[in-house]
């Protein structure tokens, strides 16, 4: 199996879906001849004339037009250049895309993907570093996925394009070229929904996604050297959430740590903590613990400030130790 990075995996997924189905098209800023600011659509503009479309600099209509196109028998992939710029499209995503099937009593569907590079640690400052998942994972009618590996990214991308519902597809920018992995040549899917145990363990469970999944795996290896067996669960999909895998894991290990880069208060980790408290309380040997970004408006630019914001393998390992010793 060839080893490719996460960005190439997403590009392959888009490419293969476009080759298979003429209804698939991409609409976003700079996606055309430039191939996107991260090069996700590089080479596709020439390969699929008229279907890799540069959008005007207007996020609301990027999503809004894709909603309309989805209702006219096409399969749009909207690209929001940076997740930080998704706010103008919030109304279209939440009020429209997520509610159209429900409000029309099942008459209309919105089969579309909204790709959004998110996350920090790349010197992106306040407006090129944000994590936005909590805003959208709150919304019934929307699916939210956040793959961490090339294999999952490609498989989930294909599932997202085929899904009859709007799917917010979150791509951690720092994983784009940093994370490499084996991806088979043959066609496959990773279903939206199921979490994946990336490292089995016995002493405590860690729940993470995106870049934090990799930091958690690194920290788990550190803890293994110290004699602590950590199970690392990659959530992969935030909505609908795989509650069964989460609860099964924590019932076995009796300790739970949730890690995300988004700031802590009101972050997605609170939902997992509540789930565990409600359904696995009697199995717990320690308080459910969260490690998130600090409650500051967004990630600063200067390196010391950025480092101070980002959860790191070291910070995660420290949280694991504390929990293991409880």
């Amino acid at each position: 199996m060839p080893e490719i990075n996460l960005l190439e995996a997403i590009r392959q997924g888009i490419d293969e879906m476009m080759a298979d189905d003429a209804r698939v098209f991409v609409f976003g800023e700079d996606v055309g001849i430039r191939g996107g600011v991260f090069r996700v659509t590089e080479g596709l503009h020439a390969k699929y004339p008229g279907r890799i479309i540069d959008a005007p600099l207007a996020e609301s209509v990027i999503v809004g037009a894709c909603i309309g196109a989805a209702m006219n028998d096409t399969l749009p992939i909207a690209e929001i250049q940076f997740a930080d710029f998704i706010a103008p499209a919030f109304n279209q995503i939440v009020q429209e895309a997520a509610r159209i099937h429900y409000r029309s009593n099942g008459d209309w569907t919105v089969p579309m993907v909204i790709r959004a590079p998110y996350g920090g640690g790349i010197h992106g400052a306040l407006y090129h570093s944000q994590s936005i998942e909590a805003f959208f994972a709150h919304v019934p009618g929307l699916k939210v996925v956040a793959p961490a590996t090339p294999y999952d990214a490609k498989g989930l991308l294909k599932s997202a394009v085929e899904d009859p519902n709007p799917v917010l597809f979150l791509e951690h920018k720092k994983t784009y070229r940093l994370i490499k992995g084996q991806v088979p040549d043959e066609d496959y899917r990773v279903p939206i929904g199921p979490a994946d145990i990336k490292r089995p363990g016995e002493d405590l469970s860690v729940f993470a996604y995106g870049l934090m999944l990799h930091y958690a795996l690194e920290a788990a290896q550190t803890l293994a050297n110290e004699g602590v067996s950590v199970e690392v669960v990659d959530l992969r999909t935030l909505r609908p959430l795989d509650t069964r895998t989460i609860l099964t894991s924590v019932r076995r290990t009796a300790k739970a740590l949730i890690v995300h880069e988004d700031n802590l208060t009101g972050g997605f980790g609170g939902e997992i903590a509540a789930l565990i408290a409600e359904h696995a309380f009697e199995h717990l040997d320690a308080p459910v613990t969260r490690l998130g970004g600090p409650d500051v408006p967004a990630m600063p630019f200067a390196k010391p400030l950025e480092d101070a914001f980002m959860p790191s393998p070291g910070k995660i390992a420290a949280a694991m130790r504390k929990l293991a010793a409880y």
Binding site: R23, F25, F27, G50, R51, I53, A55, P56, A58, S60, V61, V63, G64, A65, C66, I67, G68, A69, A70, M71, N72, D73, T74, P76, P88, N91, Q92, Q95, E96, R99, I100, H101, Y102, R103, S104, N105, G106, D107, W108, T109, P111, P140, G141, K143, P164, N165, P240
Partner: protein, 338 residues
């Protein structure tokens, strides 16, 4: 052909389009049907049977004229909440409208989930609408974009009030549609009020259509109480769109003959002299006079038509009122498509 404002000198007394007498009578029937349903909804509201009404009164000619220029079952329509007359022309029945008013399970627009007047029907290509205004204009542009990708020749028509043209989605969507010359018709029904806010506090330009120049598309201001002018202007815009020559912004100058909704009282912000004058611009009265003047609809025939429509609306009201409400167990249905 390039449409300009100066092209639009149409009026029933001038160079109207050559429509067959039966088509003209059918247009009038839809206008009268919309008015009759609308008035009935207010009665039901004031009688305590319908919690909410939002009106089409004064907009009938703008919508019927436009909708007659579209191809039913082929072209997409994305009306806003005043779009009763347009959806009737596109195929929605009075009973279906009343089912939505009473929030019945069989309401085709939403199964009783949305407030009344949020029309939608996939079968009729009437796209489901929400309450935040202007979002549908972006959808319309996207439907046009998809039609371009598919190589089809359907056109998309969307409507909205003049207040909505202050929204970013209006600007973003018209800009996109013009860049790609998408097959779209944007109909602004300018009744000069956004709830209580008059046009002069909504924009500094005299006409919404003036904005079209900034997008690079034709913009036309039409007397929206003149059904034949509306038909002709829309017909040209549809031809243009179908040919691949791009979108058109049509500003229909209409009157809002009621308060904003059943929860509003427009006497608190509209001068009484203005309210009295509204009836002089009633598009239904105007077209009835035109048809009589041209011997296309005699007094007896009009009386008979009114009676037929009242009976139809009576039957629709009864059928809808007796239809079952949604089962609470369906609350969780259709959160996600299977």
């Amino acid at each position: 052909m390039t449409l300009t404002t100066s092209d639009v000198v149409l009026s029933p007394s001038g160079d109207g389009p050559s429509l067959a007498p039966e088509t003209l009578r059918e247009m009038f029937r839809f206008m009268l049907l919309a008015r009759t349903i609308d008035e009935r909804m207010w009665l039901l509201n004031r009688g305590g049977k319908a919690p909410f009404v939002i009106s089409c009164q004064g907009h009938e000619a703008a919508q019927v004229g436009a909708a007659f220029a579209l191809t039913r079952g082929k072209d997409f329509t994305l009306p806003y909440y005043r779009g009763l007359a347009s959806v009737l022309v596109m195929g929605m029945t009075p009973t279906e409208v009343m089912l939505a008013l009473f929030a019945r399970a069989a309401d085709p627009s939403s199964g009783g989930r949305q407030m009344p007047a949020h029309y939608g029907s996939r079968r009729l290509k009437i796209v489901t609408q929400s309450s935040p205004v202007g979002t549908q204009i972006a959808h319309a542009a996207g439907i046009g974009l998809a039609e371009r990708i598919k190589g089809g020749d359907a056109v998309v028509w969307t409507s909205f009030g003049e207040g909505t043209t202050s929204q970013g989605d209006f600007h973003e969507a018209l800009n996109l549609a013009a860049i790609h010359q998408l097959p779209a018709i944007f109909q602004c029904e300018n009744n000069e009020y956004a709830i209580s806010v008059p046009q002069k506090l909504q924009m500094a330009v005299a006409n919404v259509a003036d904005r079209a120049a900034a997008y690079g598309m034709p913009g036309i201001t039409v007397d929206g109480t003149d059904v034949l002018a509306m038909y002709e202007v829309t017909r040209r815009a549809v031809e243009r769109a179908r040919r691949g020559d791009g979108p058109t912004l049509i500003e229909a100058r209409v009157v809002r003959m009621t308060a904003h909704s059943s929860d509003d009282n427009d006497r608190t912000y509209r001068p009484s002299s203005e309210l009295k004058r509204l009836r002089q611009h009633d598009p239904v009265v105007r077209f009835a006079a035109y048809l009589q003047e041209h011997d296309l609809l005699g007094e007896d025939a009009e009386r008979e038509l009114r009676q037929t429509i009242i009976a139809e609306v009576d039957a629709a009201t009864d059928a809808a009122e007796q239809a079952p409400l949604p089962d609470p167990e369906t609350l969780y249905d259709h959160v996600y498509a299977p």
